[in-house]
Amino acid sequence: MAVTFNLNGKSTTVDVAADTPLLWILRDTLNYKGTKFGCGVGQCGACTVHVNGAAIRSCQRLASTLDGVDVKTVEGLSTDGTHALQQAWEELDVPQCGYCQAGQLMSAAALLERNANPTDRDIDNAMNGNICRCATYIRIRAGIKRAAEIKRGTVTPSNPGGRPEDTSDGSPRRLLEPSR
């Protein structure tokens, strides 16, 4: 069946079987690899995306229910890493293996959309569906609080601790890009 929905603000049409999960439409049909496959049964949260602003498990959302919806993936947070959560994640060096982090970011983004100053309990409730097998929970929690600060404008993002200072011309530079 042909399905048309908005993907990160762009109208997108795919022709897939009606029971195809959004996860696999994103990964295989549209080549958006940011959204991850972890369990396939809505238990791990690696595939979390936003549908109409709500954080949902894309492995459980079928093509037949997507007509006309707004889908936002990690690629849609920002392509240049300027979303407050992306900044905080880099600043605090949150990832270990990094596989779950797209899902973590999307759950956290939905939380911050509705709650500018989440408590630990709010974070527990919003993030409990996202497993981090490496157990970076301490930094995820700190990252959400840091992003909330950045978003509220109470602080400006700084270089991560120990990261060498900016280049001599004073412009911030992406310091750690691998060359491939």
């Binding site: 080549n31 409730n125 157990a135 491939r180």
Partner: protein
């Protein structure tokens, strides 16, 4: 390892090119992000006379000043892709911001060992990689000194440049690259290494080099790899270990939407770890392949394992424990006589279950078989083992196999075994010229793992009137045959408290099983520490002593001579293990024990009823770690970890402060995750658990603060991937005892009734 061999030429398309092609095929969205600025720089240079400076396989400096450092080991979340280049860059004396990091393909001739396991990367590479950087720096000094006709000792380096202070001259490494490329470098073991006080990258907080790609969702992991014309594959194996395909409804499956091929795979020459009898389905998309799989009907010959079960193993263990041990692994003094004279005797049986690794990225590999050669894109911890498995199974040579090491969404030991890699290679061989990406489901992963072996420890021992341990016996019951233990199911003859108790016996009995077993983060130690440190707590209780003081006394009461390094037994990197290195050192352990107790304010806080502190220490993978857990147990028996204080001694230098802290906290939390509710059970020769709903991993709500403290000692730096994990499990169980009076001797905690009051 030699540091003077250059990388061999890559054949065919570079991985980077594939990414670019795939991005185009995907509609162009990712092109911009996949043609980095660097490539633009380089492509404009073709045809011009130039020489890159490549003093060894790890460093490349172009005349334009582009500094590339190759990271040779697989990145599985342990931070190695940042860690190893940091070591090189510091000695090369360049600024981290100027460095580009590139993941190496598998090429042991160029890079030496390339693996992720046993917490070995730091001990193996600490000196050679500092030397690799220092050779590059020395050659830059030579190039500058010759250019300026000044003595080398008058030259200094900094920020990727050589300086001559008295003449106020400076040349960047890029400017010197052409000249340096003509020089012969000094022998690696002759170069002067930095004084640690001069490190400017080592010992700082450096974020992971792939973080930006991770947070912006760029393709990065093995599962993200794609190629034009690629098919996606699923594989169905018998749920019963060792079962074989008799027949399957392949004709029906081939008519399913998108399905291009379906076939039976015959088992390969390597049993258990290798290619198993199975059915593969290939389709245009993974979802199509997996949908077709749901209609797959296979008639299996389930084989002899169908009679095996966890309940059967438990019964066999009890039977073995009541018989004389099959063999003795260590005997000091006279255990029986000492026990007879003890004033307090304690008997206890400890059990820990099978566990599954469950890395979050399901197993996958992309393979292309063409003209008798196979190219593989795989997240693997042990590419060398993978290559061996592929050559033996496909009947090809090492030179016919190319392995691109992909970033892994977790390892934990699972990807030391390359079964999924050989599956992809075998499937690809059936469709020559067509690239195939095999992806397992989570259910495949949990039901076809190489499990952390279950184990039983039957302890008996006693303390004298002064509270000193006078007798200790552990009858360890495990899996294996004859004098051999199953993979990662062994115990070493130097395992603590061996050497610290005069009348000590370590016995072992084994039972056979074809349940696949393998190394899981801190193999052996992750179960043994729970049993040993729990039983030590029981002895402390019997002696009426404080658990920290009791352990201090145990560390100082007596010590046999350490074994010769070669005598260190057992698999899994405990003790000296692979790569040699330090043995259990009582003074170092005392150091971390005291530090953990001090930071936790041990014995100085009054805790409410239902809350308690527990302590444990363990030596593994060359690291000495002590941990204190504070836990609260509700009257209904629900356990909450309030906080953990970790103290570790991994030598004189922490390479990356940021990742070390992250890794240490994650390992401690993982240990608690094992304890809370993780268990793999076997019934009718197959695994009962299927997914995260019945194999629960610790979640945000259960997470807790972990204070990490490192005791720097005058010892060579060693690894941090594993040794933080084992002590937290017994420390938690000992905290539960302090909180409730209930002793946990069986894991996971969910099998214990912890109600109190």
């Amino acid at each position: 390892m030699t540091t003077t061999i250059r990388p061999t030429k890559k054949k065919g398309l570079h991985r980077r090119d594939f990414f670019r092609v795939s991005a185009l095929a995907g509609g162009g969205m990712l092109i911009a992000t996949y043609i980095p600025e660097l490539e633009g720089k380089l492509s404009g240079l073709s045809g011009r006379a130039r020489a890159d400076f490549m003093p060894n396989a790890f460093i490349k400096i172009t005349p334009e000043g582009v500094i590339t450092i190759v990271s040779k080991n697989p990145e599985i979340g342990q931070g190695i892709k940042t860690h190893l280049p940091m070591i090189i860059a510091d000695e090369l004396d360049v600024d981290w911001k100027d460095v580009h990091i590139e993941q190496a393909d598998f090429n042991p001739e160029a890079y030496g060992s390339q693996g992720a396991g046993g917490s070995t990367a730091t001990p193996i590479n600490w000196t050679p990689l500092r030397q690799a950087g220092a050779v590059g720096r020395a050659m830059m000094i030579t190039a500058a000194a010759q250019t300026w006709s000044v003595p080398e000792p008058e030259c200094t380096t900094g920020h990727g440049a050589v300086m001559h202070a008295s003449s106020n001259r400076r040349m960047t490494y890029g400017q010197l690259a052409n000249k340096a490329a003509t020089l012969t470098g000094p022998a690696a073991n002759t170069v002067k290494l930095k004084d640690p006080k001069d490190y400017h990258i080592i010992g700082t907080r450096v974020p992971g080099v792939d973080n930006h790609k991770i947070v912006t969702g760029q393709p990065l992991f093995g599962i993200d790899f794609t190629m034009p014309g690629m098919l996606c594959a699923v594989i169905e194996k018998c749920a019963v270990f060792g079962g074989k395909v008799v027949s399957a409804n392949l004709d029906e499956i081939k008519r399913e939407p998108g399905v291009k091929h379906a076939f039976v795979i015959e088992p390969g020459p390597v049993a258990r770890d290798g290619l198993l009898s199975s059915v593969a389905i290939l389709a245009d998309t993974w979802w199509q392949a997996n949908s077709a799989r749901k209609k797959l009907k296979v008639q299996w010959d389930e084989g002899p394992m169908v009679t095996h079960s966890s309940a059967g193993y438990e019964a066999k263990s009890v039977e073995l424990s009541q018989q004389p041990a099959q063999r003795n692994l260590r005997k000091d003094g006279d255990f029986e006589a000492a026990l007879a004279g003890a004033s307090n005797k304690v008997e206890a049986a400890y059990f820990y279950p099978f566990l599954s690794h469950a890395p979050l990225e399901p197993q996958n590999t992309t393979a292309l078989f063409k003209d008798g050669k196979v190219e593989l894109w795989s997240a693997t911890q042990q590419p060398n083992g993978g290559r061996g498995l592929v050559t033996r199974t496909l009947g090809i040579e090492n030179s016919d196999v190319t392995i691109h090491i992909m970033r892994a969404g977790g390892g934990f030991g699972r990807r030391l075994t390359n079964d999924y890699m050989v599956e992809a290679a075998a499937i690809a061989k059936m469709v020559p010229g067509t690239p195939v990406k095999l992806i397992w489901t989570r259910e495949d992963d949990i039901q076809h793992d190489f499990y952390r072996p279950a184990g039983w420890h039957y302890f008996s021992g006693g303390v004298d009137a002064a509270g000193k341990v006078v007798a200790w016996r552990d009858h360890f019951v495990s899996f294996g045959e004859g004098n051999g233990f199953s993979n990662s199911a062994s115990i070493g003859a130097t395992e603590f408290p061996a050497r610290f108790i005069r009348n000590y016996m370590l016995d072992a009995s084994v039972m056979p099983s074809d349940v696949p077993m393998g190394a899981m983060r801190a193999p052996g130690s992750n179960g043994i520490a729970f049993a040993v440190q729990g039983y030590i707590d029981e002895l402390a209780h019997a002696a009426g002593k404080d658990p920290v003081q009791f352990r201090r006394d145990l560390l100082s009461q007596w010590q046999a001579d350490p074994p010769a390094p070669a005598a260190e037994g057992g698999r899994g990197g405990r003790g000296g293990g692979r790569g040699g290195g330090p043995q259990f050192d009582a003074a170092r352990m005392r150091g971390v024990l005291d530090l953990a107790a001090e930071k936790a304010n041990w014995g100085k806080t009054t805790l409410p009823q239902g809350t308690g502190m527990g302590v444990a220490f363990h030596f593994s993978h060359r690291g000495h770690f002590a941990e204190v857990v504070q836990a609260t147990v509700t009257k209904a028996g629900t356990v909450t970890v309030d906080k953990v204080w970790m103290a570790g001694d991994i030598g004189s230098q922490i390479v990356n402060l940021s990742h070390a802290e992250n890794q240490a906290q994650g390992g401690v939390i993982e240990g608690v995750s094992h304890a809370l509710g993780q268990e793999i059970t076997i019934d009718k020769g197959r695994v009962v658990q299927t997914n995260f709903n019945n194999y629960p991993l610790l979640r945000m709500r259960q997470s807790f603060p972990v204070e990490t403290h490192f005791l720097k000692t005058d010892n060579d730096p060693t690894g941090l991937g594993e040794p933080m994990l084992p002590p937290v499990i017994p420390a938690l169980c000992n905290a539960i005892h302090a909180a409730t009076g209930k002793r946990v001797r069986t894991l996971p905690l969910s099998k214990n009734d912890l109600k109190w009051g």
